[in-house]
């Protein structure tokens, strides 16, 4: 902490605004930076304007921001993730363009390029993948296990608030000051105060700390929900595969987020209070940071990909009209991956000076993870085998995943060998590898899930044609962008280079840049699909709730589900209970009796903490100490005040539940069942015709 710090606005000054840079030195670099800042500002103005024009502030506040309903929180998570995804993709395109601009320096300055890869990584991992995964899980978990909400609905709201406010810091850093140039891993001593006295690493630190707290709380919430709130008869071995993957993810969150928090806070202590955890002098040791970061970082990738595996498991079963093959082995494989993911972190820094023996141990441990993953791939293929397969959008994503993910996984096994790693470490080969597992693995999985469960959430199907266009664009875009990077990586091109000289890289760079444009088109096609689907929603409604002849509990209720999810908590007797019930003609039973239902009341605590934590982070980044102290106090006071609330639940009377449920049951009886050949026809109102032959 330097002595000139403090004052009313800390170290904030006019130089922090990018427009000043543009006026002083107008060049391509400044234009890109200002365009990015302008997009953020215009985005805010447009959103505020639209909300005001359509008079939506009231509904937004009452129905969404203060809601503790897990379904709405899930949807808000996904909206946030998609907004951040747009920024992450654009940054990717700019980076590809910079490297394709030919041997030499391109059009960006080195500093700016470093900011781009730092924000791109931070955003894609913490503010796209994580919230997207959490959004889907939030929406699905209670529906799949037969519960009315998650275990801690208000904490759920707070988690969302903290994640969003942390993500907003990355947006603010576009307009005020600059983000870190230290990559998403923010290795000290480079990110320490000695080499990087600016605000960049501080933006990174606080965004990571605050979103990390949100993530940890969500992990606790999901774990407790699945352990304690399962419907009667829903034993562990009857859980949908997706729930198993979320249990494993939650375990990973609970145990793997602390190392990240510890690392970031220690870095903060170094930067703000002149501690010596990771400095070059006075006994600091940066290897402690590398170990802590990857102690989190490796479980993190499984935390993201396991839920995607879960989504694929549900999709392969449904669109093959078969039971999931090898359920037990999939459960064991998932749990094995979760546990083994804690034993491999060192493979992220084989070249940082350990003994050969330690490298070998971690290399072998890393290769071992390929075994349970292989089990999964074979189980999925066996699920497809002799199924009645429909090549629907989620299924197409699944098939693209199966083929591409295996390539990504195998390149991981190559990297796990320390001797090879010495050759390709820190090259674009690595970049190709992790994009190869994260795009076809996580992103395709989430998009597949989005297409699959969208009708459950909103009551109408997404447009099939645009969906297929999307699949093609994502797949082709991915292959064009990232497969060339394997080759240039092997040729020795380092990652994160803003300039390069070897002309033989050039053709690959151009292909990759074209690929990134295809990915941009893919992102636009997702928006187009949503737009078209909303326009056509009257012809694609599925109020009965089961458009795909699916197998798990969430499909046995209306689409969209009522706030209380289940009129009567179901009694589960089998794995794939709903599929079993349909086969025996016992689906959609009329309950004998209804009971009053207790639901959490709306509360604004999540929103309050979201705003306050945002201001708190901003104050810390800019050394505005009075504001940081004030917001700390306000957060404490508002939280304590919230604990004094006694009236936290509202009652939905049994009579109202009965009326709504019986109206829906009438709808079920009136609907015409459709077979699988007419899944995308307007007559699919969500009632599936049992297809006995293929169901076994």
């Amino acid at each position: 902490m330097t002595s000139e710090a403090g004052g009313l606005i800390g170290r904030l000054s006019w130089d922090a605004f990018p427009i000043v840079g543009l006026i002083q030195t107008p060049n391509a670099n400044e234009i890109v930076a200002n365009a990015a800042a302008a997009v953020v500002l215009v985005g805010v103005v447009v959103v505020v304007g639209l909300l005001t024009w359509f008079r939506l502030w009231g509904p937004l506040w009452r129905d969404w921001l203060t809601s503790a309903d897990h379904k709405k929180i899930g949807i808000m998570y996904i909206v946030f993730a998609i907004v951040m995804l747009a920024r992450g993709v654009l940054e990717g395109v700019v980076m590809r363009a910079q490297q394709a601009a030919g041997p030499g320096d391109g059009f960006l300055e080195a500093e700016h390029f470093a900011e781009l890869f730092s924000t791109h990584g931070t955003i894609m991992v913490f503010f796209v993948a994580v919230p997207f995964v959490f959004g889907v899980a939030n929406f699905l978990i209670p529906l799949m296990i037969g519960a009315r909400d998650v275990a801690f609905p208000v904490m759920n709201q707070i988690s969302l608030g903290l994640t969003v406010s942390a993500g907003m810091m990355l947006m603010v850093s576009l307009v005020v000051g600059a983000f870190s140039t230290g990559g998403w891993t923010a290795y000290p001593p480079y990110t320490g105060a000695a080499f990087n006295p600016g605000v960049g690493p501080d933006y990174w630190i606080w965004a990571i700390v605050v979103s990390g707290i949100g993530t940890t709380l969500t992990g606790i919430n999901f774990a407790v929900t699945i352990y304690k709130l399962r419907a009667p008869g829903m034993t562990f071995m009857r859980l949908p595969m997706y729930c198993w993957t979320i249990i494993c993810s939650s375990i990973l969150i609970v145990f793997a987020m602390p190392p990240l928090g510890v690392a970031a806070l220690m870095l903060a202590a170094d930067r703000y209070l002149d501690f010596h955890f990771f400095t070059n002098d006075l006994g600091g040791n940066m290897m402690n940071y590398a170990n802590l970061f990857w102690l989190f970082g490796h479980p993190e990738v499984y935390l993201l990909v396991l839920p995607a595996y879960g989504i694929y498991s549900e999709i392969f079963a449904t669109f093959s009209a078969k039971r999931l093959y090898g359920y037990n082995s999939l459960v064991i494989a998932t749990m094995s991956i979760a546990i083994m993911s804690f034993t491999v972190w060192l493979h992220h820094f084989f070249t940082m000076g350990q003994s050969a023996l330690i490298n070998a141990v971690f290399g072998i441990a890393t290769m071992l993870i390929a075994i349970p993953t292989g089990v999964k791939v074979y189980d999925w293929m066996a699920t497809l085998f002799r199924g009645r397969i429909r090549f629907s959008v989620p299924m197409l994503y699944g098939l693209a995943f199966l083929m591409l993910f295996v390539i990504g996984g195998l390149s991981g096994v190559i990297l796990a060998n320390p001797t090879i790693d010495y050759q390709v470490h820190n090259t674009l080969f690595l970049v190709a590898h992790f994009h190869n597992v994260l795009l076809p693995g996580v992103l395709f999985g989430l998009l597949a899930g989005y297409n699959y469960w969208f009708p459950k959430a909103f009551g109408f199907r997404l447009n099939e044609t645009w969906g297929r266009i999307s699949v093609v664009l994502w797949t082709v875009g991915f292959m064009l962008t990232f497969l060339p990077l394997y080759f240039v990586g092997l040729m020795g091109m380092p990652r994160r280079s803003f300039s390069w000289e070897d002309p033989s890289f050039h053709p690959y760079m151009i292909v990759a840049a074209l690929g990134s444009l295809v990915i941009l088109a893919a992102l636009l096609s997702v928006v187009a699909q949503l737009w078209v689907s909303i326009k056509q929603r009257e012809t694609t409604r599925v109020p009965v709730g089961d458009p795909w002849d699916a197998r798990t509990l969430e499909w046995s209720i209306p689409a969209p589900p009522p706030p209380y999810n289940f009129a009567v908590i179901p009694q589960v007797t089998d794995r794939d209970d709903f599929a079993e019930a349909k086969e025996q003609g016992a689906a959609y039973p009329t309950p004998d009796a209804y009971e009053d239902i207790l639901l959490p009341r709306n509360t604004s605590i999540g929103f309050i903490l979201c705003v306050l934590s945002g201001v708190w982070m901003f104050a810390l980044v800019w050394w505005i100490w009075w504001l940081a102290a004030l917001t700390t106090g306000l957060m404490l006071v508002s939280f304590i005040a919230w604990t004094f609330r006694t009236d936290t639940e509202e009652v939905i009377p049994a009579e109202q539940v009965r009326k709504e449920h019986e109206a829906w049951l009438d709808l079920v009886r009136a609907a015409t069942p459709v077979d699988r050949d007419h899944e995308y026809a307007p007559e699919n109102r969500g009632l599936a015709r049992p297809d006995l032959e293929a169901a076994t």
Binding site: I220, N221, Y227, P258, V262, D274, F275, H276, G283, T643
Partner: protein, 210 residues
């Protein structure tokens, strides 16, 4: 599915005398337990960092110059006694003793917690006088990253005691508040456990290996 009637969540269970609160506590207490386990990883890592940095004294003062075992002994006694008093508050709750009894044990726990913090701060100030500040060396950074983190938890526990004490006075023994007492007791015992780790690893370990 039958569950054991007397022990369905971590810590001392409220049991048959408080069926409503007992049921409400089951899920929340489990959740709190998971949180504590996550917190335990925080401490575990800080212990690990401390162990790797015991030698990183960079010519600055080390454990032998800085640690005052008499004060640590007093702090240990105080903190362990406070764990007893918070346990007595739990027992008073479980066996339906008057509410004032619970608040009294809370009060005594609070006094003990604050005395612990005062002694700890005095130690830090004494260390600082001998040049033992976190800016001096990696070893001291690790020390100040770990021990005050525990102190911060004790301070948070003290704040919780005050807030919960007030709530007990205002609302009486509602199910929600009883369930909070259970969790506060869990939290307080957890702090004790961490302290045992601190005297063993930070102080004894530091004096042995530093």
């Amino acid at each position: 599915m039958k569950r054991a009637p007397t022990h369905s969540y971590p810590g001392l269970n409220l049991g048959r005398r408080h069926p409503g609160a007992d049921k409400a506590t089951e899920v929340v207490s489990f959740g709190f337990w998971v949180f504590l386990m996550s917190d335990l990883v925080y401490f575990g890592l800080m212990f690990a960092i401390y162990i790797t940095m015991i030698d990183a004294q960079a010519g600055g003062p080390g454990p032998h110059e800085l640690f005052d075992l008499t004060s640590i002994f007093a702090q240990t006694l105080i903190l362990l006694t406070s764990s007893l008093t918070v346990g007595l508050a739990m027992l008073a709750l479980k066996y339906n003793l008057p509410r004032s009894r619970i608040v009294m044990w809370f009060g005594i726990t609070l006094v003990l917690g604050l005395s612990f913090l005062v002694l700890e701060l005095r130690d830090f100030m004494a260390m600082a006088e001998k040049g033992g500040v976190p800016q001096r060396s990696g070893f001291l950074s690790a020390f100040y990253g770990l021990v005050p983190l525990h102190g911060l938890h004790v301070a948070a526990g003290c704040l919780w005691l005050v807030v919960l004490g007030i709530q007990l006075r205002v609302f009486g023994l509602t199910d929600v508040l009883m369930s909070r007492v259970v969790r506060l007791a869990l939290f307080w015992h957890f702090l004790d456990l961490i302290w045992i780790g601190i005297i063993t690893i930070v102080y004894f370990g530091g004096l042995t290996y530093g």
